[in-house]
């Protein structure tokens, strides 16, 4: 956890430095008052200072606080990957079918439900999304190749 916190601190530090760099290219002060670069520059400076504090504070401490990876982190990662795959498929399948597939797969993956109940839930979800979002609320969601 300490290592993860350290990496987090370094990431914040890099963010702070990047913000300082990019905002220094914007106008800091115009003739009418502070320019567009004024606030971002100070935000960058504060982020950098705070990140240094976090890192130094971590280096001083030696207590161990919990693990970053928990037993079920792997499951979370699997769901994350499933979401990515479903999102990639959305333009092809459309929202109704794509997200229904996501529900079916994650139910099987997480809950160990029977594949019939997963399939039924997926079908009900697809019908639900189609009629609630597309027909009733008329949100122009992509319908994919199937046209649903």
């Amino acid at each position: 956890m300490r290592l993860a916190d350290f990496i987090g601190g370094v990431a914040v530090l890099i963010l702070g430095l990047a913000v300082i760099f990019f905002s220094s290219q914007l106008t800091y002060y115009s003739e009418f008052g502070p320019g567009p670069g004024f606030l971002p520059l100070w935000v960058g400076i504060i982020i950098t200072a705070c990140a240094i504090y976090v890192i130094v504070d971590l280096l001083k401490k030696h207590d161990k606080t919990g693990e970053f990876f928990k037993p079920r982190t792997r499951l979370g990662l699997q769901v994350f990957i499933t979401i990515i795959i479903s999102f990639l498929l959305l333009p092809l399948l459309g929202f109704a079918v794509g997200l229904a597939l996501f529900i079916g797969v994650t139910m099987r993956m997480m809950g160990k439900h029977h594949w019939i109940s997963c399939g039924l839930t997926a079908i009900v979800t697809a019908i639900g999304i189609h009629f609630i979002f597309i027909s009733w609320l008329t949100i122009p969601l992509p319908r994919g190749l199937i046209g649903w």
Binding site: A4, D5, G8, V12, L15, V19, F22, S23, L26, T27, S30, F32, G33, P34, G35, P36, F38, L39, P40, V43, G44, I46, I47, C50, A51, Y53, V54, D57, F68, K70, R72, T73, L75, G76, V79, F80, I83, I84, F87, L90, P91, F95, L99, F102, I103, T106, M107, M110, G111, H113, T121, T125, I129, F133, L137, I139, P140, L141
Partner: protein, 508 residues
């Protein structure tokens, strides 16, 4: 008299069939969201926001307000029955509520929570009516320097209420401000941090960020560390819900004190309903003649935090409506709703849209009454919701979040961005960077920066404008004190440490 005519205007709007239905849907939905762990009021409202684009703003806001205070009622059920808070605002209720349930007094605990909430809530609405219009009149005098000072104070107060690591709270606030600057700068018309990506020129939509950071990020956290508790097997009968005379005697002052504390904390920017319930519990314990009973099923320990969280959820509308400054993540999401409909809350709202203001406030009387009825007669139905498998709830969150993100600009870029913010939110939560400051800074960022620049343009670049106007000066001093609060706390700790040790030194 003005109050009565406002009330009349309000009820003539809130009591239309359409708005009563919106109110009922809101409180029912709020109650359900409250029962379900892993989804809170800001998430629920953020997920529904994109779907209400075409709705009448007053009706939609009546529904959202219903969700907000409905959640405070619903979270109680899980706190009492399974010792898992459905909401962060009902954490304190677990301490005594679950103990009461173990002693077979679950009915009394739920009952005092909902009656206390109703009394404190209804009293808060009366206060809100008087206070909000007074605040709006007062705020008519605010110029850019006051608005900047006010937002600075709100950011500062986040570090007071933000938890153990104030530095991480500040980082989170700054990242929120930074995200708010993305896109075209309204004053100079120059693009900032868009890196040539056309979708970023208009800025990142608030809904996309909320759907990711509160919705999907919460899904990842819940999968990793599921909150499971065992439902007490005892059956609830209607007669269990009636309070005894002793219960009334024990909880009447707790309800009053909790209500007052809740109302005050709710008004403070960054206060919020969780802090309110926390402080009310501690105050009640301190005021009690038998503090040792707390944690072992004291009915005051349920009445006080429950009354406080409901009072705070209502008083939180005062700064939102009268100043346009949200004090909690939920009201921040509602502010995003106002922006979506093109309405600007603030002092002028009371003059331009009195129907909306008073209709919304009057609907709270109706909503709280509906919740009282729901919580007396329908508790078993909500207990049944607890048996819904988490995979289904999780799926719903992902569906609503992705549909919501897509519908903002009808493109996939926002859907991916939403997922990106979900990962950011998950990592921040894991590394103990609080998310609420980021969200509040994000909604207030533009107001803060623009008023800062306007103020300095008016003063010709002199910073004295912030210190010579009295209201602005008060806010600035409060902001500085708030930012210094970690240092002050640290110093006090050191001082106390020394006084603890001094008698020993004397004895040597």
């Amino acid at each position: 008299m003005e109050l009565l005519s406002n009330l009349y205007t309000g009820f003539s709007i809130a009591l239309t069939l359409n708005n009563i239905i919106y109110c009922l849907v809101g409180v029912l939905f709020g109650q359900i969201v409250g029962v379900l762990p892993g989804i809170g009021a800001p998430t629920a409202i953020a997920l529904l926001l994109p779907l209400t684009f075409k709705a009448n703003p007053t009706s939609a806001l009546i529904m959202f307000a219903g969700i907000y205070y409905g959640v405070a009622y619903g979270g109680t059920i899980t706190s009492v029955l399974i010792n898992v808070p459905g909401e962060s605002s009902t954490v304190m209720t677990c301490l005594d509520g679950y103990q009461m349930a173990l002693k077979g007094r679950a009915g009394a605990a739920l009952s005092v929570a909902c009656i206390g909430s109703w009394i404190a809530g209804t009293a808060s609405i009366v206060l809100l009516m008087a206070f909000a219009s007074a605040l709006a009149k007062f705020a008519l005098r605010f110029g850019p320097s006051e608005y900047f000072a006010l937002t600075a104070m709100a950011f500062g107060l986040l570090t007071v209420f933000g938890g153990e690591q104030p530095i991480k709270t500040i980082i989170s606030t700054m990242i929120g401000l930074l995200i708010a600057t993305i896109g075209l700068d309204v004053v100079s018309g120059m693009p900032r941090f868009a890196f040539g990506v056309p979708q970023l020129l208009g800025g990142i939509d608030f809904i996309v960020i909320i759907c990711g950071m509160f919705g999907v990020a919460e899904v990842f956290s819940s999968i990793e560390e599921p909150e499971e508790g065992e439902l007490l097997k005892s059956k609830l009968h209607l007669r269990d819900l009636f309070l005894t005379w002793q219960d009334w005697i024990a909880s009447r002052w707790a309800i009053l004190r909790g209500g007052i504390i809740g109302f005050i904390v709710g008004i403070i920017p960054a206060g919020g309903i969780t802090t309110a319930s926390f402080l009310a519990y501690l105050a009640e314990k301190r005021a009690s003649r038998h503090p040792e009973r707390f944690g072992h099923g004291a009915i005051e320990g349920v009445a006080a935090p429950e009354s406080a969280n409901n009072a705070a959820s209502i008083s939180g509308f005062a700064p939102l409506l009268a100043l346009g400054i949200p004090g909690s993540p939920t009201t921040a999401v509602m502010l995003a709703g106002f922006m979506m409909w093109g309405i600007r809350p603030g002092p002028m709202l009371f003059q331009k849209n009195p129907d909306l203001v008073w209709g919304l406030i009057s609907s709270m009387y109706i909503g709280n009454f509906l919740l009282l009825l729901i919580n007396i007669f329908l508790i078993p139905a909500f207990v049944a919701i607890l048996r819904l498998p988490y995979t289904i709830i999780m799926g719903f969150i992902v569906i609503f979040a992705s549909v919501g993100a897509y519908s903002v600009n009808n493109n996939f870029f926002d859907v991916w961005l939403m997922l990106g913010f979900a990962v950011l939110g998950y990592l921040m939560r894991k590394l103990q960077y609080p998310i609420v400051p980021l969200v509040l800074a994000l909604v207030l960022g533009n107001l803060s920066e623009n008023s800062f620049r306007q103020a300095l343009t008016i003063s010709g670049g002199s910073f004295s404008i912030f210190f010579t106007r009295p209201i602005s000066l008060i806010f600035i001093i409060a902001a500085i004190l708030a930012y210094l609060s970690p240092v002050i706390r640290w110093a006090l700790k050191g001082l106390r440490h020394r006084t603890d040790r001094s008698p020993k030194l004397d004895s040597i």
